[in-house]
Symmetry: C2
Subunit: 236 residues, 2 copies
DNA sequence: AGTTTATCGATAAAAAAATATCGATTAAAA
DNA sequence: TTTTAATCGATATTTTTTTATCGATAAACT
């Protein structure tokens, strides 16, 4: 039995069965976005060097990352065909076919996510929301219905939903999570500040603002320290 | 909102000068959250094993991570003093003293962040917002004023702000970013789906929804594949 | 008090990820 | 047509991160 090694389902240690490291996987959408820009500009081919320069990565890293996605291969001297690469990446990322999802917690953040129209670009379609608040139940947000949380389980089963988004306050997150798992949800995108416990067979991704902020604060601290020491900055 | 961007400024290759890896840094808030829970429950000491079990990490990993934060040391047989550890972590994370920040883009997501009351726990205080829309300028959101974007630079300089949050649509993000850098902002928390280019002296953290979703979709795909192959699931 | 056991902390080993090297290839230039 | 230069792709190396080992220590038990 393989247990997850990073907290809340985001293990640091377990290898990706597909061979792609998580770090690489996270870079993919960045490549995709850049390639789409370039494609719009009318460019047809691009080299790993050019991508790397823009993305501030090493060309080797880019080449290796892309090798996981590319069906066709790049051409020496010219690089990769951008359109092909976009297709490959979208396929790899699953952005090419839409996955239905439900969201629990129609508060401020929930509303924001429900109102966001860009998810279809990422292959995600939030079809309904659930909440406990009578004020919200049976309202619509961006054309999407908000139902009583009690109906979540049957809705999920009836509509074969596998992905759930959690946008409730931290103290309710575990409970919502448990219900989702019970209902048959297999992937959870958690925006609540909580360390969720899930069976190892469930995919969990935490959108942890605190963690992000921790990294940023740390960097800022380093910068301020260096500035005080009189080091030059803006080294471009 | 939609966000993604993983790379500029977040290269995988740059070593952390402080010796703490980014991965470890990102785990810290998780520890902190768990310890606070335990502390509330009245527990006084906790072992790395207990933390690891809950966080689904190895105890060794926990010990090593905590060794970067701990001033005091743990006691054999009983573990760490929870209160001390909380203090150490908050200090390490900079959550113990508040940093002022500004936000640009008072749309749906911007409003959500402005309304979120939990940032003070993370040492962040958004003091003002900026936007281009006349409808929003001079309004207040959660008691925080929205000003004309043109005033951002002088505001930042006048109030010695070092941290900026970007919540504008992707196509405007780079421009806003440039203005922030020009104004003297040293750390940028970017929620826009854009690959921002910043001087290397600027800390940049992208809240990359697409990247998160990529990881989650990938996991889900694996799970569905295994399910189809008839593997058991919910192995607890 | 003496023994046992859980836990720490330091160091060593292993694993994973990023980066470097280099021959092969192909477009463009001479 | 030959040479040159940019780029790929595979393999090797290095670096970083995680995990394992193990002696030391302090609480609990006998």
């Amino acid at each position: 039995m393989d247990f997850d090694k990073s907290y809340s389902g985001e293990k640091a240690s377990v290898p990706q069965k597909s061979g792609i490291s998580r770090a690489a996987m996270q870079r993919m959408p960045g490549y995709l976005r850049y390639l789409k820009e370039k494609s719009k500009d009318g460019k047809e081919y691009i080299s790993s060097v050019a991508i790397a320069e823009y993305m501030k990565l090493s060309a080797i890293c880019v080449k290796k990352d892309l090798s996981f996605a590319t069906s066709s291969s790049g051409k020496p001297k010219v690089g990769f065909n951008i359109k092909d690469l976009i297709n490959d990446l979208e396929k790899l990322l699953g952005f090419d076919n839409i996955t239905d999802a439900i969201l629990v917690g129609a508060g401020q953040l929930g509303k924001t996510l429900l109102s966001y129209t860009g998810f279809s670009n990422y292959g995600l379609n939030i079809v309904a929301a659930f909440d406990k608040s009578p004020v919200l139940i049976n309202t619509k947000i961006n054309g999407k219905s908000v139902y009583d949380l009690d109906e979540m389980e049957s809705f999920v089963k009836r509509n074969n939903i596998y992905l759930g988004v959690i946008t409730v306050p931290g103290q309710f997150a575990q409970d919502v999570c448990d219900h989702m798992v019970k209902a048959g949800i297999k992937a959870i995108w958690n925006f609540a500040p909580a360390n969720l416990v899930v069976p190892s067979s469930i995919a969990l991704k935490n959108e942890d603002m605190a963690a992000s902020l921790a990294v940023l604060s740390n960097k800022l601290k380093e910068i301020m320290k260096n500035d005080k020491k009189g080091n030059k900055r803006n080294d471009e």
